[in-house]
Amino acid sequence: MSVSKSRPKPKRNPGDFIAKHLLDIPRSGIRDFFDIVSSRKDIISLGIGEPDFVTPWHIREQAIFALDRGATTYTSNRGLLELRQAISAYVGEAFGVTYDPESEILITVGVSEALDLAIRAIIEPGDEVIYHEPCFVSYAPEIRFAHGVPVAVSTTRDNGFRLTRAMLEDKVSPRTKAILLNFPTNPTGATLTQADVEDISAFAIEHDLIVITDEIYSELTYEGGRPSIAAVPGMKERTIFLHGFSKGWAMTGFRLGYACSPPELSEAMMKIHQYIMMCAPIVSQKAAIEALKTRTDTEDMRLSYQERRNFLCAALNEMGIPCHVPKGAFYVFPYIGDYGLTSKEFALRLLDEENVACVPGSAFGECGEGFLRCCYATDIEEIKQATERMARFVKRLKS
């Protein structure tokens, strides 16, 4: 019997067990702000990144019916075939690209899971992923979880936070493997034109890159159409198209998304999905089948958001906060850089002095500094009150 003669190592504290690459990733700026806001009472929040609609009744009713019928089991890993067929039809009709329900569509627990699967399926340690900022808080951390290298491209308000080929050319390197797109964008509401999408496609093909496109806000596009990069000729084979039901159908709590991609990639994502998640909840899948049976739900909500967007942009510009009119999502991203405060200071003082919560732009990347994210998925009466309070606040700052 051999006995180790080495000295016993000092015992580790709980924190010492944490993986080093995780320690390097900062906490989400949103979460910091959430902690401050949630301790306050009677605030008007323009900081909520989800629809203020309750899921349309016929969808909820279908979920109840599914439970009533005993739909409480696992489904196949890929998800219910009936749902995949409905998604195939919807994506074909809305985006102009057809996916095979049997081999190219994977149902996931929200787009969040789909994004994680997509990144993990393609990224090897050291691979670079170009993404555009300001952006949703999860992109860079998820790339790092997969030991990839996030490479941010800054977008600016002078062109409505669009992404252009020239910006990508600046950042591409021999290690670049993927481009991650999110249009309409959270937090800027930016969209791409057909020409932008074609330019980015040409860039991806020329540099032999794969594109992950998160189009969760697609139904909430107000002007200019919603061209998807997946539909550009030659792009389907190098695109992972991510979509879901949270925003357009007000189904955030159902946690249901999907990934569409060529069979090889779909199978690779499926490999991770089957081990970590097994399948998306069956009740949510049943509800989603119902959601895709009509096309009017998203349209009614879109019109309502559009009016609130118009109101908020007009009110902000009138009070002297320059605000471009975003073409999609449900956020406005006004510029508050002229008041001598950082976006965090501005947001904190606005909260302290007027009880209005907006998220500092810096939470969405360095180039979000100087901006504020205001969500208009909020009751119009609350938006009216919030803008009155903000006008009062800005007037004080100016004096």
Binding site: S28, I30, F33, V137, S138
Partner: protein
């Protein structure tokens, strides 16, 4: 339906300034359009939606089914107009199905309404029969829920 009308139907007290902001137009354009709708008779009036169950008033409402003999050259219109003229009658509709006209009648109590139906409505020449259904509670009126839905349960800030 025109978005302006939808917004006014939702909240008729909305100011032209706010309507202009929402519709991305000018206050003057909104005012002119509203005046146009009023002139054309499309907007017939502006009313508050009341929850009378909460009010300290004596008030009962009934739906009255009315069967009518249509008149030559007048059809149902002349009788419907006659029924409509009574101040007790809040609404009158021409219906398909087993009866012809449906009227909503309001009164201080059951007796008032019953008396009005038997004495005033049923006796109109051309009305064959009536059926009275009293309303017991209002849940939704003119698209407005009488009890507010639950408050916002979303997190105060989310990504």
């Amino acid at each position: 339906m025109d978005e302006l009308l939808k917004l006014l139907k939702h909240n008729a007290l909305e100011t032209p300034k706010n309507l202009a902001r929402m519709l991305n137009t000018t206050e003057e354009a909104v005012k002119a359009k509203i005046a146009g709708y009023e002139g054309a008779g499309i907007i017939r009036g502006y009313q508050a939606v009341l929850n009378t169950d909460l009010m300290d008033v004596e008030l009962v409402r009934a739906v009255i089914e009315i069967k009518v003999t249509p008149e030559r050259e007048g059809g149902f219109n002349r009788i419907a107009e006659r029924v409509s003229k009574f101040p007790e009658v809040e609404s009158v509709y021409l219906m398909s199905g087993t009866y012809d006209l449906m009227a909503v009648v309001a009164g201080r109590n059951l007796k008032d309404v019953a008396f009005f139906v038997s004495e005033k409505l049923a006796t109109i020449q051309g009305i064959i029969s009536t059926g009275t259904h009293f309303m017991l509670k209002t849940y939704k009126n003119n698209g407005v829920l009488m009890e507010a839905e639950k408050t916002d349960e979303r997190l105060k800030v989310s990504p």
